[in-house]
Amino acid sequence: MADEQKPEGSQQPPPAAKPAAPKPAAPAPKPPATMAATPWTSEMARDLKERFGERVKETSTYLGQNFIVTTPDGAIPVLEYLKLEADFDYLVDITAVDWPKRADRFDLVWVVYSFARNERVRIKTCIFDGFKPPTAVGAHLTANWLEREVFDMFGIEFDGHPDMRRILMPDEWSGHPLRKDYSILQQDQRWVQENLGIESGQ
């Protein structure tokens, strides 16, 4: 809530000119490169903490949007719990964010929505490159294509997925385009030459 009100004041122009300056003003002074999230306290957050213990690392709120940070093995149980016990029956999206400098390189994000509560929650977890997170297809059929896209773009393989193939890029393509170390000009030279018959590969 605190950071929701912050931008409405007269302080609006400064944050953009100097993004790091006003942020430490609201919470305690922090290194500027972290998200100024505040703890999310609600009945559900308490329930989750009680039920999953260590596996739920953090329940927070940023810009009025709630998210749950779990350990890699906790995400799917939390997803299933939310579906069965808390009516979060609509899996909106699965995606990932690449942070190549971090040891646990990828953020994996699930967005779930509850029609009954009209509430949206994100589940986040950090995984290292090569970790195979379990699939969510068992809980939500829509996860099938969404996970395939994450695999295609980031090279994160989902364990137990019924059809772990690329979905947007050609099957034989090498490399995963949305990784940060994949240059925007980069392409699979060999694939282009072989399949499109373009000698220069351009």
Binding site: P15, A16, A17, P32, A33, A37, N118, T142, W145, L168
Partner: protein
């Protein structure tokens, strides 16, 4: 599935697309058939993949704005609105009331234009030639308003982060009102052609049924979900851009078949006219641009913002690392997610119904593949 069927005939694997007029773009569907009956399908997509999300990471926040129009190019205004709202959320800015009203007018006009493209092409797929000419005639009127407003008809780039770049042109309100007056009788015309037409009903009723539970399982949203009886529309559930001020209904139907989706979309067009009328009637005066700095640098953080696009929930998950470029922009495209339900909808049906179902899903391949 058994390998052999009646008289030991084997199943036929038929390739449909990517260059097929009724796949609405470059969608390839591999059909497994037993005679006329569909035993299963497999979609091959990605022919239009342009790496929109990768492009975002190499442009500034404002520079990426025109790119989103190229995803769902028949509803470019909605794409732009979703992106602007997402970045505004990160920045903590809100568009001024006048800008919000203009945004609502243009977005709803775009919903009508998008539904008209759907209706025309869907009817064409089924075999009704006439509606497409009618639909494109009225769509032209909506596109003319876009063109006069921002110079572009299709990929409009109508909105900017924080509000609008252009004030409305002289006669904007008059023309929008004239459109609202002209349009509902035209919807009557379409309905006269189709709603009680025996061939139309025969081809659509009980075809491609998707129940409410199946919709939720597959994450299907938009008119497909509403035709299955779920009264859910993000404009009502989580209003944005001032939608809470307008009085309109969410049309729903019970059966979740192709005919019901047709009815829902027809009613949505009428509701869109209602919203436009209210918005243009009570359009406030004032500035059209919020207090947004020249160089957009949202504070470190992330947000998921979604809107009710003509095709369903269009979401943007944006991550900022505090620099001038987005760290990550994820688009949650309604067409991509809805298309996944195609297999469930056509399995067990006839091969001719596949065409009807692809039409009723209202997919745009530019958005499926991004």
């Amino acid at each position: 599935m058994p390998d052999s069927t009646f008289l030991d005939s084997t199943e036929l694997v038929l390739n449909m697309g990517p260059q097929h007029p009724s796949t609405h773009g470059v969608l390839r569907v591999i059909l497994k058939l037993d005679g006329e009956k569909v035993m299963g399908t497999s979609c091959v997509i990605g022919y239009l993949h342009r790496g929109v999300e990768k492009i975002a990471e190499n442009r500034t926040w404002a520079q990426f704005n025109p790119y989103v129009d190229r995803m769902d190019y028949v509803a470019a205004v909605s794409n732009g609105l979703g992106y602007c709202l997402a970045v505004e959320k990160l920045l903590g800015v809100e568009a001024p009331p006048r800008a919000q009203a203009v945004r609502v007018i243009l977005t709803e006009l775009n919903r009508i234009a998008s539904h008209l493209v759907w209706l025309g092409t869907h009817a064409l797929d089924i075999g009704a030639i006439t509606p497409v000419f009618y639909c494109f005639r009225e769509r032209e009127e909506a596109l003319n308003i876009f063109e006069k407003y921002c110079g572009a008809r299709l990929t409009t780039h109508a909105f900017r982060i924080g509000g609008l770049l252009y004030e409305t042109y002289d006669g904007f309100e008059r023309e929008v009102k004239a459109f609202c007056k002209m349009f509902p009788p035209k919807v009557d015309e379409y309905e006269e052609l189709l709603t009680n037409n025996r061939i139309w009903a025969g081809r659509l009723k009980n075809v491609g049924v998707l129940t409410a539970d199946e919709c939720k399982e597959y994450g299907v949203t938009g008119p497909v979900l509403r035709a299955a009886g779920v009264k859910w529309d993000l404009r009502k559930a989580q209003p944005y851009s001032g939608y809470e001020k307008y009085d309109f209904e969410i049309p729903t139907r019970e059966n979740g078949d192709t005919y019901d989706r047709y009815i829902v979309r027809m009613r949505e067009m009428r509701q869109a006219v209602r919203i436009i009328e209210q918005a243009v009637e009570g359009m406030p005066e004032g500035p059209i641009m919020g207090k947004v700095p020249k160089v957009i640098k949202p504070p470190v953080g992330e947000a998921y913002v979604s809107i009710e696009a003509p095709k369903g929930e269009l979401g943007y998950y944006v991550v900022s690392d505090g620099s001038v470029q987005p760290y990550r922009v994820r688009v949650r495209p309604p067409s991509f997610v809805n298309l996944q339900a195609l297999d469930r909808m056509v399995r067990g049906g006839l091969v001719a119904d596949v065409v009807a179902v692809i039409g009723t899903l209202d997919i745009v391949l530019g958005e499926v593949d991004r």
